[in-house]
Structures are given as structure tokens and as C-alpha cells.
Symmetry: C2
Subunit: 220 residues, 2 copies
DNA sequence: GATTGATACTCCAAGTTGGAGTAACCTGTC
DNA sequence: GACAGGTTACTCCAACTTGGAGTATCAATC
């Protein structure tokens, strides 16, 4: 019996809400949980098998016409396991971003290419934002499933909403920055970039103004 | 010859700056690149082998005393491959967060447990922020390696810095929210949470004020 | 001369991906 | 009543990745 992974607990957590078929579990994952614990569909289909093998869930097979449908339910042992995991320390939160990787090596690319990546990044963030808004709106109007989960979901949505906005705002700011870069291999104004960076790290709440706005300050 | 992964390009991008030993590559990854493309050390040791097999890098073995040290350099084919990759579309940016997973299922845990997770989350974000500040400070003062990379690094640091602040601020806000939750299984004021959520999604720049601050509004 | 930390790797079982493949059900349209 | 297109319900597998364990040597400090 293999040890449990966070993926196991993600599924177990969903099963603690109500029994689901594997297909429903994949849908639930793409609705919310998957935004902080993204896993491939094939993996989500395997996980309930492991939970059943470990005695943390049970499988009930039914027939819908000639097609089978397996519904998984959590067991008492499963709930105990989930609750124990909840109070253990969590692994660090990480980002995985091919876009940021390309920005980091973007000194080898043309400004147009970088701008293309930044726009796609912003669009992805905005469609994520729209996704939360839609789900959250149902709850605001008193609809939406599992109202007993509203308080924890709200904490979750607020973070993901702010993260989506941060990405969109940053991408727009970065685009305006890239626009100030000299084309080709011309020399850059490193002094201006340094000032920008200094301002960015002092300034707390919003993104720094672009290098080309205002006249910077008399650098001491 | 297996196909290249983003990890291959991350290493290739570093090799495009200068030749490194594998150990130095792992150090560079933990310094910056690894914050947006986190990979296990063992994987970082394997990747240069694949690059050499694909003709994208060369390995030069030297001896330091009796210990060998392999330094990898990018080839012309490697640079071409890297540049081609840079203009291809990037995969979506994702978050992986065990903490958020625990918050989502936190309705099963005690407020104390959740607060513990939120504090650890804030601390992790703050130490990340300190890390950027330290690196960026060198550049602001005109020190720091590879000054020709300053412009792309600045875009990168600004996003990671804002993300770190967002996490720390959110965690503090969330902690104050959790403090308003009734202990045990007492009934929750769902109306208040709904108002909070509505405000959170309207309000743009900062985190919403807590439910217990002010008296909410006369809900229409 | 011993300890500690940095440098320099290898190995492997098990978790995970992502795409391909299969098939039945359901709804609406012509 | 047939067909299309979308939804539900899975399996399979090669290749990628993890994370911990293991093995050394080098360099600086006490």
C-alpha cells in the first residue's frame, strides 16, 4: 500500500463533502481544487482506486443503461486520515510558469515576442478572474451548492481573485516597460532600470510607475 | 533522443549566460529560475546529460584534486533551439499549494489549526520577499552579476515581490477573518460572509476589510 | 587533526503527466 | 429515425519527475 500524497487528500477532501463518481471528481477539480492542486485527469481516475485499497473509501458500482458508473464514498477511516493530515504542516506553495521562464530569458527574444507572452499571460489571468466571479456570484445571491462551505471558499476565492488581478496588472505594466526598451542591441539605460527597481521594492501596494513616466528622481 | 521539456530550456537558458558545472546550475536554480520552475536536484543533474546527448550542450571534464568537475557549455544548436522555444506559446501558469488545499477543507479543522497554516504561509512569503530584496539590492547599487540581464530580471523580481506581498497580506487578512468564526459547530453568519465576498469581488486593489470591521452595509 | 560546510555527483522506487484510445449515453435537429 | 455533437465513464502507457538515500572529495576553521 503506497503512502498517501496530497492528491490523495484532495480527493479525500472532496469525498468528505459527498460521494462522487470519478468523472464528477474531475469536474470538481477543474472547478476549484485543481486551481491550487493541478493534476492530470488520468491521475484523478487512479487515485480513488488507491483510496479504496487503503480502506479510506468504498466503491459502489451501478449501471446506467449498459454503462457502469462507480461512485466513491469516504469511510470513517478516511475521515480520520483527512483530519490528521489537516493539522500537519503544509509543503511550501510554489508557482510553475513557463511564461516567467521565457521572460527571464527574454533578453534573447524580440520585444514583440515578449509582449505576446505578456498578453497571453494577462488573458489567462483575466479568464481565471471571470471564472471565480461567476462561481462566487451564485453564492452572493444565496445560490450555489454546499453553502456550509461558504466561509472557507471565500478565503480561497479572495486569494485566487487577487492573484489573477496581480498577474493581469503586472503583465500590462511589464508590457509598458518593454515598450521603453531600445530595439535591437542598442545600449540600455541601466540607470533608469535601477531607479525603477529601487522604487518597485520600496513602494508597497501597487506596481511601480514605468521608467518613462515622469523624470525619475535625482539619484543620490 | 527524448523530446525537450521546459526543464531542458531552463538549463539551456542558464548555459546561454555562461558555462556552469551541474552544482552551480542547482545553485542558480535556487537563486532565481527555480522560483518559477521548481525542479528536484536529481533532475537538474540529469538534464545536462540529455542536452549533451541532443547535441545542444558540450561537457568538459576537469579535475579538482582527485574530484572531477564537469562544466557544461551551450552549442550553436543549443542557442538556436532555445531561441526557437522562446517564441513558442507558453503553457499556463499554475500554483501548487498544500496550504490552500488545507484551507479549502479547513471547515473540518479547528480555527487554531487554520491560523497555524496561515502564519506559516505568511512567513514563507516574507522570507521569499527578503530573498528578492537582497538580490535586487545588489543590482540597485550597481553590483550583482550579469548587469546586461537587469531589465529582464527586474520584470521578474517585481512580479515575485508583489506575489510575496500578496500572500503575506492575504494570510493576515484571512487570519483576522478566521478570528470572527464561531468556535465549534455553532451557526455562522452566512449573510456577513456573503457581504464580505461581494465587497471583495467589487473592490479592486486591496484586500477586503474584515466582516467585523464597520457594520457592513444595508444589504439591498 | 578533526569537524563542518561546500562541492560533485549517482541511484531508484514510486508518483505524475498528457495524449491516445474506447465506448455508451443524451439531446436536439432535420 | 438517423445522425451529430456533447457529456459521461473510463483504461493504458511511455516518458518525465520526485525526493530521499548514498558516496566522496575539497577547503577553511579551531
Amino acid at each position: 500500500m503506497a503512502r498517501l500524497t496530497p492528491t490523495s487528500y484532495a480527493i479525500l477532501g472532496l469525498l468528505a463533502i459527498k460521494p462522487w463518481s470519478t468523472y464528477e471528481l474531475t469536474m470538481q477539480m477543474s472547478r476549484a481544487v485543481g486551481h491550487v492542486w493541478p493534476r492530470a485527469e488520468s491521475n484523478l481516475y487512479q487515485e480513488p482506486h488507491r483510496l479504496v485499497a487503503a480502506g479510506l473509501a468504498t466503491a459502489e458500482r451501478r449501471l446506467v443503461g449498459r454503462r457502469q458508473r462507480t461512485e466513491y464514498s469516504i469511510t470513517a477511516a478516511g475521515r480520520a486520515e483527512l483530519d490528521a493530515w489537516l493539522s500537519e504542516p503544509a509543503a511550501p506553495t510554489v508557482i510553475e510558469s513557463e511564461t516567467l521562464l521565457k521572460v527571464l530569458f527574454g533578453n534573447r527574444a524580440t520585444p514583440e515576442v515578449i509582449v505576446g507572452h505578456l498578453r497571453a499571460f494577462a488573458e489567462q489571468a483575466e479568464s481565471g478572474e471571470a471564472h471565480w466571479r461567476e462561481i462566487a456570484h451564485d453564492y452572493i445571491e444565496g445560490r450555489g451548492p454546499f453553502p456550509e462551505r461558504l466561509h472557507v471558499n471565500t478565503l480561497f476565492w479572495v486569494l485566487l481573485d487577487r492573484w489573477a488581478r496581480l498577474r493581469a496588472d503586472w503583465a500590462r505594466w511589464a508590457e509598458s516597460e518593454v515598450a521603453t526598451w531600445p530595439t535591437g542591441d542598442g545600449p540600455r539605460d541601466r540607470e533608469a532600470v535601477r531607479r525603477l527597481l529601487a522604487r518597485a521594492l520600496e513602494d508597497g501596494t501597487s506596481l511601480p510607475r514605468s521608467t518613462d513616466v515622469g523624470d525619475g528622481r535625482a539619484d543620490g
